[in-house]
């Protein structure tokens, strides 16, 4: 992004909502602040951004002061001169041998102090920490081609500090390698501007640093599923021509790019990404190929497998139905531009990526793209249960093909586990931010907003886990709001689509009435393009005309009159 573009973005009219973010650094923030504001505006179109900056030369104090505010996040940028002024270019107090020893000691001490302040700040808001991005000045007697013990000592202190930091929840370290890919080390320092204005970065480096920091602070929601083609994509060769043993994915067969692709897919599956196959192929041959012992993807990681001779978009449609997720949560990978275009035309929301079969560099770029689309900060229990529960859902559908009958639900041996959650439940935060269909109002939260909602009086949040004879679904629903006299105000209510047709939503409300003692629940409802299933549920109790954006009131008597018989065993954790 050019500086002019960034300024143009910042000048655009914003809505009422203002997002407050801290830029914590010890230098003059100048163009970095401009780029950050622009990327923050792009991240939340329509919202205004207030970027709070601190005092020049006082990174430590700036971090301390940020704790007193209720911003949505902070980006703390540490340069060598923040660890010791003598490591910067605007100070000239000598670089003698004894001074270097002192610098190393001071740096380690400063790291400890910064750690203390940063971890305290991270209790209030998510913090991105950026380790020094600029090279050290030429301060040792060593020729530049040789690393000095002093430099290693500084780096060791820094690495230890960063290792301690990254163990704290709420702190995210900016990836130095990703930054180096966007901004080479030799093109980062603007010495002229550093000496003139105290701003040490070139425009290109400020741009890259701002872009990456915003992505790190407000990571986009990961996509949920990947649909892959087989021939010349998952493996090299045409299965129908060369047979089960003829397709390959090895270095020896000059097909290593396919092995790397399989490896990444297996890793995505392990982290909870849904994987399916859509292939124009003979289903029996496909089944046999997927069972090959050298296949890097395990068969149980893939569901469903759509192999046949129909059009690709029909296969994709069946997969989306089996997964019960929207097309815009899915990436489709195929080597054929025609197939990609056909699927994209039928499902405009789906992200179609071409597998560049004969281009290893292109494949590497694709794998990096997949990590961007599916990257997640941590892997939870539910991530391991996802495919298993979808298979179970398919089984339920086979046994009770239309609407699950009360008798069928009664035989599920279903158990609902309730758990009160605080702001530190990442699963509840994840569910609230990624669920579309059964979602009270489609609200999305930053970590800072999520944490601050728990500070309101009477705030509560309950997660619901579910299991039955087909296996556990894990924590699949969240209901939260504020308890008031005689009523509950609910502003968060989401449930994973994997949990539909089990009457869990009814049980959630029954438990909410029971635990709160409220005679009425008021929902802060907003119809969205996607929350049809939630609206259908509300029609059990409310007239369609009453379902407009705003407060929906549900008295306990009205609820109980329309609530079906519930068979769940309810357990509190």
């Amino acid at each position: 992004m050019r500086l002019g573009e960034a300024l143009q973005i910042i000048r655009q009219t914003a809505g009422e909502r203002q997002r407050q973010v801290h830029l914590l650094c010890g230098f003059t923030p100048l163009h970095l602040a401009t780029f950050l504001s622009a990327y923050l505006r792009l991240r939340s179109p329509g919202d205004g951004v207030t970027l709070q900056t601190g005092l020049y030369g006082d990174l430590e104090g700036n971090i301390q002061r940020a704790r007193q505010t209720s911003a949505e996040g902070a980006i703390a940028i540490i340069e060598w001169s923040d660890l010791d002024q003598r490591l910067g270019f605007r100070n000239a107090s000598g670089w003698g041998t004894q001074t270097l020893d002192d610098i190393a000691e001071q740096t380690a001490e400063k790291c400890r102090r910064l750690e203390s302040h940063t971890t305290k700040l991270a209790q209030n808001m998510p913090v991105v920490v950026v380790a020094p991005t600029l090279p050290l000045p030429p301060l040792t007697h060593m020729p530049p081609a040789q690393t000095s013990a002093f430099e290693l000592r500084l780096n060791a202190a820094l690495i230890e500090f960063l290792q301690r930091l990254c163990k704290h929840s709420g702190i995210k370290l900016l990836n130095a390698s990703s930054l180096a890919m966007m901004s080479p080390l030799s093109a980062r320092h603007d010495i002229k501007m550093d000496l003139l204005a105290g701003f040490p970065y070139t425009l290109a480096h400020a741009d890259a640093l701002a872009q990456l920091s915003v992505s790190c602070l407000f990571a986009p929601n990961p996509k949920k599923g990947l649909i892959t083609d087989l021939d010349e994509t998952l493996w090299k060769g045409i299965l129908g021509d060369v047979g089960v043993e003829g397709v390959s994915w090895s270095l020896e067969a000059k097909a290593q790019a396919h092995a790397l692709y399989q490896q990444v897919l297996a890793s995505l599956a392990d982290s909870g990404t849904l994987l399916a196959i859509a292939s124009k192929n003979d289903a029996t041959l496909v089944g046999a190929s997927l069972q090959r012992p050298d296949m890097l993807l395990r068969p149980e990681q893939i569901f469903p497998v759509e192999a046949g001779w129909g059009v690709k978009s029909d296969a994709v449609g069946r997969i989306l139905k089996a997964w019960s997720i929207a097309a815009d949560s899915v990436v489709f990978v195929d080597d054929s531009p025609m197939e990609l275009a056909e699927v994209a035309e039928k499902y405009p929301g789906i992200e179609c990526l071409q597998f560049p079969s004969d281009d290893p560099a292109g494949v590497l770029a694709l794998l990096q793209q997949l990590r961007v689309r599916f990257g997640k900060e941590e892997i939870r229990e539910e991530d391991h249960l996802r495919v298993q529960s979808l298979r179970a859902a398919a089984q339920i559908e086979m046994e009770s093909p239309i609407e699950a009958s009360a008798d069928f639900i009664g035989r599920l041996r279903a158990k609902v586990t309730l758990e009160s959650s605080g702001s530190d439940s990442p699963r509840a935060f994840e569910l609230a931010n990624k669920t579309n269909q059964f979602n009270l109002n489609g609200m999305r939260y930053t970590e800072g907003e999520w944490k601050s909602r728990f500070r309101r009086p009477g705030a509560f949040l309950t997660t619901l886990a579910y299991e039955d004879r087909f296996g556990p679904l894990g924590r699949i629903a969240v209901v939260g709001g504020y308890k008031e006299v005689n009523r509950c105000l609910v502003d968060v209510w989401v449930m994973s689509c994997r949990a539909f047709s089990r009457h869990i939503e009814f049980q959630a409300l029954r438990q909410l009435f029971a635990k709160s003692g409220a005679s009425m629940i008021t929902f802060l409802f907003r119809p969205t393009e996607r929350n049809g299933p939630l609206q259908t549920f509300f029609r059990h109790f409310l007239s369609p005309e009453s379902m407009v954006e705003g407060e929906l009131h549900l008295p306990v008597a009205v609820f109980e009159k329309s609530c079906p018989h519930l068979f769940h065993e309810v357990v509190e954790k």
Binding site: G4, A197, F199
Partner: protein, 81 residues
């Protein structure tokens, strides 16, 4: 307005969004609120980007009005020192 002045006017619009467009050509550090040292650095950096020229900040010392900036840019882009 010549081409240099048009482009410079665009830079002023970005750095001083509240300034009335009719006032840009007569703008000086004296009559423009917010034209401080930070705004000057931003303006000069933007000029460098917009005109694809390497900005030597010392060369622009004393260029504290729209007219002075336009004159200096004209000199640089026409090759005069």
């Amino acid at each position: 307005m010549n081409k240099v002045e048009e482009k410079l006017s665009h830079c002023f619009a970005l750095v001083f969004p509240k300034m009335d467009p009719s006032q840009r050509a007569i703008a000086t550090t004296e009559n423009t609120s917010g034209w401080d040292s930070i705004a000057q650095v931003t303006l000069l950096t933007l000029i460098g980007e917009e005109f694809a020229i390497d900005i030597d900040f010392e060369e622009f010392e004393g260029a504290t009005s729209f007219a002075a900036l336009a004159s200096r840019i004209n000199q640089i882009t026409s090759g005069a020192s």
